[in-house]
């Protein structure tokens, strides 16, 4: 087989609309559901039902109530039973109807063929597609070994595929969001406290009096209960402090917004530690009893006075002192929030450790308004099929990749690297739009895509990755399927949640559990799955004293609320090597890295260029919602814009509303122009654009050419050598006016 030599082998195929849902089949559904009849439903109870499930628009996985009438979901509201919604829902959740009734959805399995020098897709039956996939994977495993196959995944339905692959002997799993999003946050906390920050984060916001945020933009990222807690906190008197180069929505609620220079958070936090220690404001007793490494920490931060930090961070020294002092005065009902996307430069882990250390210094652990640790529902683990012996348990080269019982075994950029090195020959991509997902930047990613021998993409929409695949398997949306129980996350009220279909899968799409079962069968793996997913769920629920029938009624099982706070005299225990909170991390030291966070100066922008910052909009989740007509109808969602300070705009002759192209420091020019937003809300040395626009796949009929791609402008990446996360914030852009 001439793999790898044919440069056009993986040329991008534009999927013919014949193979997509198509306008004819969709229009009636869309017309009724999305544009609406204009009459409010008067409430005929007859043919209306409510199905409880959980959302898939983001990792919060809030409980939803899907309202079905005449076989169509006409609205989605928050589940009143699920503790992560409390009946409320974010805009993306309500917009699920735009995803299920998207006219551009994948409708059939597709197989790539070469005819006369050109690649096209042809419609295939499930049997054909699964057989081809199984054959190829089997061949590659036989020839190169199971380590030549890797799965990239994002989305809760991945569990069935993981189970199948593990039974097959493959255990290379990578989730891109670890690399560039929350990896450092998990690891930073684990190295300090011995446990993850959690999702939801373990900060008792609603009872707190003073919470500091570094760059986190709640309101623009819509984590349901986090926002609920912040609101409740405000009603109870919570004061918010925001360090952000941009005046975000959250900054709009802050008692103090400090427009910190990007890339200097560690210096700021070191200065705060300096003030706490110099002015004796930290909780000495707590630190002595529950932490190790104080002296090492002090040795590191004693030089970082507020004056020195003021020069680095561009925040006046008296402001730094004021925040540190107020923080200490409200402690222990005060906390620094760890955020979520925390890999900006290669020092993300240490930055999160700074946050954890600041919290530890004021002794807010397990105190009202401080850092808390939630509990999980005690759901017995599912019995699993026998796995063959794996060559390695963890494939990542990074020493501190993850201490959580790994759901992933390597970083996604390592998948790219290993593909380029010929170690990986096949990719199974579940719900990851690889070319637009930052792992090493678009160029390197496309190189790897071109090199890989076999690429299977499981997706709901024709995202760009499907244009490069050898086999495209259409999965139905979360509203049309069962998935595994969501029972592994600790929260205030420990819970297990059920995902159940509200309607039947549309067209020829299938749920992941069925696709995985078909693949297991074809690969000759027996007994991996129960005969049906309902059977599996029922069995599992029965071990917890419930049943599928029972759980379908409310979609959740709840346990007693977590006992959050320390009792007087309680001895705290931490799962760290020392058994205490590690202000100086022994594991980091052992692995050859700095035990305490160090401030490292990051590259500056060249003259006339500005650091490009990114974030979210509250009604969007990047790829998942890019083509969602229901959500994108609003003028604020239709396109992204580039936020430019008025002085910078004047310098470059930019007017509000004009379209420009962006060029980065490596000379990459954005494919599509972006609208300029001249605003007072951003520093002079940075610009801001929301990620997830600028799609170039024509079949995403709505998303095509809207806004500009932030991902495309990432040429420079830095890898955190400790955990393998990838930072991409050292990219700078300038403006190219339209001719």
């Amino acid at each position: 087989m001439s793999h790898g030599q044919d440069l056009n082998r993986r040329d991008f195929i534009k999927i013919s609309s014949l193979f997509l849902a198509g306008s004819a089949a969709m229009s009636s559904q869309i017309g009724q559901t999305l544009t609406g009849g204009g009459t409010a439903f008067a409430g005929n109870a007859g043919d209306e039902r409510v199905v409880y499930s959980f959302c898939e628009h983001c990792f919060w996985r809030c409980g939803i109530a899907a309202h079905v009438r005449d076989g169509k979901i006409y609205k989605i509201t928050g589940s009143e039973h699920h503790p992560l919604s409390n009946g409320k829902l974010c805009p993306r959740g309500t917009g699920g109807i735009g995803q299920i009734y998207d006219p551009d959805r994948l409708a059939h399995p597709l197989i790539r063929e070469r005819k006369g020098g050109k690649s096209t897709y042809r419609k295939a039956t499930w049997d054909e597609a699964i057989t081809l996939t199984a054959e190829k994977l089997y061949q590659i495993k036989e020839k190169y070994g199971p380590q030549a196959i890797a799965m990239l995944h994002h989305g809760y339905g991945y569990t069935f595929f993981k189970e199948m692959f593990k039974s097959f002997g493959v255990n290379k799993f990578a989730k891109p969001s670890f690399d560039f999003c929350c990896g450092p946050r998990h690891q930073g906390y684990i190295l300090t406290y011995g446990h993850s920050a959690g999702t939801p984060e373990g900060i008792d916001i609603e009872n707190s009096k003073y919470v500091i945020f570094f760059g986190t933009h709640y309101g623009e990222n819509m984590h349901n209960t986090a926002v609920q807690e912040i609101s409740e906190g405000i009603r109870r008197g919570l004061k918010i402090v925001v360090f952000d180069p941009r005046f975000s929505t959250l900054a709009g609620k802050a008692e103090k917004w400090l427009p910190i220079k990007a890339g200097t958070d560690i210096a700021m936090m070191q200065a705060m530690m300096n003030v706490l220690i110099t002015e004796n404001l930290y909780d000495k007793e707590f630190v002595e009893e529950n932490t190790v490494g104080f002296d090492e920490l002090w040795a590191e931060v004693r030089e970082m006075t507020p004056e020195k930090a003021a020069e680095i961070t561009d925040i006046p020294a008296e402001d730094i002192r004021e925040v540190a002092r107020r923080f200490a005065s409200y402690a222990p009902s005060a906390a620094v929030h760890p955020g979520r996307r925390t890999q900006w430069y290669a020092d993300g882990t240490q930055r999160v450790r700074c946050i954890a250390i600041l919290n530890a210094l004021v002794g807010n652990y397990k105190m009202p308004g401080g850092v808390v640790k939630y509990e999980k529902y005690k759901l017995p683990k599912a019995p699993h099929h026998h796995y063959p012996a794996f060559e390695k348990e963890i494939w990542s080269q990074y020493p501190l990749f993850t201490d959580i019982k790994p759901s992933n075994t390597m970083a996604s950029h390592e998948v790219m690297q290993q593909t380029l090195n010929d170690e990986i020959k096949a990719w199974f991509v579940y719900g990851v739009n690889v070319p637009e997902t930052i792992t090493l930047g678009r160029t390197a990613t496309l190189e790897a895509i071109n090199k890989v021998d076999f690429l299977v993409a499981v997706d709901t929409l024709p995202m760009e990755v499907t244009g490069y695949a050898d086999v495209v398997l259409p999965e139905c949306t979360y509203l049309e399927r069962y998935d595994d129980l969501d029972g592994g996350r600790p929260y205030r009220t420990p819970f297990v949640a059920l995902r159940q279909p509200a309607v039947e899968p549309m067209f020829d799409s299938k749920p992941g559990n069925e696709i995985a079962r078909m693949m297991a069968d074809k690969l000759g793996l027996h007994g991996v799955f129960e005969d049906s997913v309902e059977e599996y769920l029922d069995k599992r629920l029965k071990t917890a004293g419930s049943s599928l029938e029972e759980m379908k009624k409310t979609g959740v099982l709840l346990a007693e609320p977590t006992d959050l706070y320390r009792k007087p005299g309680e001895k705290l225990k931490f799962k760290t090597p020392s058994g205490k909170i590690e202000l100086a991390s022994s594991k980091m030291k052992e692995a050859g890295f700095s035990a305490v966070p160090k401030y490292i100066k990051h590259p500056e922008a060249p003259e006339g260029y500005y650091r490009i910052l990114t974030g979210r909009k509250p009604m969007l989740t990047f790829g998942r919602t890019a083509n969602n007509r229901f959500l994108n109808e609003l003028p604020t969602a239709r396109e992204n814009d580039i936020w430019v300070n008025p002085e910078v705009a004047k310098q470059h002759g930019l007017t509000n509303g004009e379209y420009v192209h962006l060029k980065n420091q490596a000379g990459v020019v954005s494919d599509y122009p972006i609208k300029v937003k001249v605003t007072e809300r951003i520093r002079k040395d940075a610009v801001y654009m929301v990620h997830g626009y600028g799609h170039y796949f024509k079949k995403l009929k709505w998303a095509y050419k809207r806004g500009a791609s932030h991902n495309q402008l990432i040429s420079q990446t830095e890898i955190d050598k400790a955990i393998g996360a990838v930072g991409f914030q050292n990219n700078f852009v300038t403006f190219i006016k339209e001719a």
């Binding site: 109808e633 609003l634 003028p635």
Partner: protein, 330 residues
């Protein structure tokens, strides 16, 4: 003094109000124009009928109680033009099949309700008047019911004509009142708008009568028109001054009209207002008619009335459009 900047981001989706109010297009200004003329015609013709019948003042009769040609045509045109105007109103409705809803209730606080009823009330007496003044022609047709109606009208002519003159005023004025009740639209929110539309309607009607009257009757209508024009000039002046001296909403809206560079059909409001309406539509015709009255004959005498009509039409368009393109009451 440093300027405070306000940044507003809104998710509002509503082509009816964004980027500005956008609900009435050409239908409404055209109706206002035709309605104003119809009202003006009715006022002029009914007053002339009374003056002739009761006081013997006015141009010569055709005999047998039939007034001069201009009055006969004017009385006929009045209901016809109003009918056409009402057709435009109907076309503007978004829910036309429900037009009957106007006529199953009277909403006393709504000028539009009053207007819809006035429009109906207009027809019976205006048609009777039109029939009466053209009775010579109609008698020849010898239709029983028609003759009866003409007789009845003849008997009650003074009353009919008086009522018609009031209805004519009502038609001319209510459209201005209708717009002026919208305090949410600062340009329209002027107590003198009703008067402006009335006077403009009368001047346009007189101009129209000038156009179709025989030569010997023209001077009369020219005089009526000239008077109406200078009253209109005064009223426009008050309208503009009232706006400019008002609070921010009103002065801003008035400046948007008379000094704005917002475009209508390729020209700015300012050019339309001062160039077309004021100069061409008011001042030049006034000057020409003044010359006529002073005995100086113009080679193209019909220029003046045509300009007046153009001015009347442009005024309606300007007010309806500029009132919508300015921002809502703050």
């Amino acid at each position: 003094m440093t300027e405070m900047t306000t940044e507003i981001i809104s998710t509002k989706l509503n082509p009816n109000v964004l980027p500005h109010l956008h609900i009435w297009e050409w239908h409404i200004p055209l109706y206002l124009f035709l309605g104003g003329i119809a009202g003006g015609l009715l006022v002029i013709t009914s007053i002339m009928i009374i003056l002739k019948r009761k006081f013997g003042i006015g141009p010569k009769d055709e005999g047998d109680g039939c007034p001069c040609l201009a009055v006969r045509i004017g009385s006929l045109l009045s209901p016809v033009l109003l009918g056409i105007g009402m057709l435009f109103l109907f076309l503007d409705l978004a829910h036309p099949l429900y037009v009957w809803a106007f006529y199953t209730t009277i909403q006393p606080t709504s000028p539009m309700s009053a207007g819809s009823w006035i429009l109906i009330a207009f027809f019976p007496l205006a048609v009777l008047q039109a029939m009466l003044v053209n009775k010579k022609f109609l008698r020849e047709r010898n239709i029983g019911i028609v003759n009866k109606l003409i007789d009845w009208t003849e008997d009650h002519l003074t009353l009919v004509a008086l009522i018609n003159s009031q209805i004519g005023v009502g038609i001319g004025i209510y459209t201005g009142i209708l717009l002026s009740f919208f305090y949410a639209r600062p340009l329209w929110s002027s107590s003198i708008l009703g008067m402006l539309f009335l006077v403009s309607g009368i001047s346009s009607a007189a101009a129209l009568m000038m156009l179709f009257s025989p030569d010997d009757e023209k001077p009369l209508y020219s005089k009526i028109d000239a008077n109406a024009l200078w009253i209109e000039l005064v009223v426009v002046g008050l309208f503009v001054l009232g706006g400019i001296t008002g609070p921010a909403n009103n002065s801003g809206a008035m400046m948007h009209l008379i000094g704005g560079d917002y475009q209508m059909a390729g020209m700015s409001y300012m050019v339309w207002f001062w160039g077309v309406f004021m100069a061409l539509g008011l001042l030049i015709p006034l000057f020409l008619e003044f010359l006529e009255a002073a005995g100086v004959h113009i080679k193209f005498p019909l220029v003046a009335p045509v300009l007046v009509l153009i001015g009347g039409l442009v005024l309606r368009f300007l007010i309806v459009f500029a009132g919508q393109t300015y921002h809502t009451f703050m």
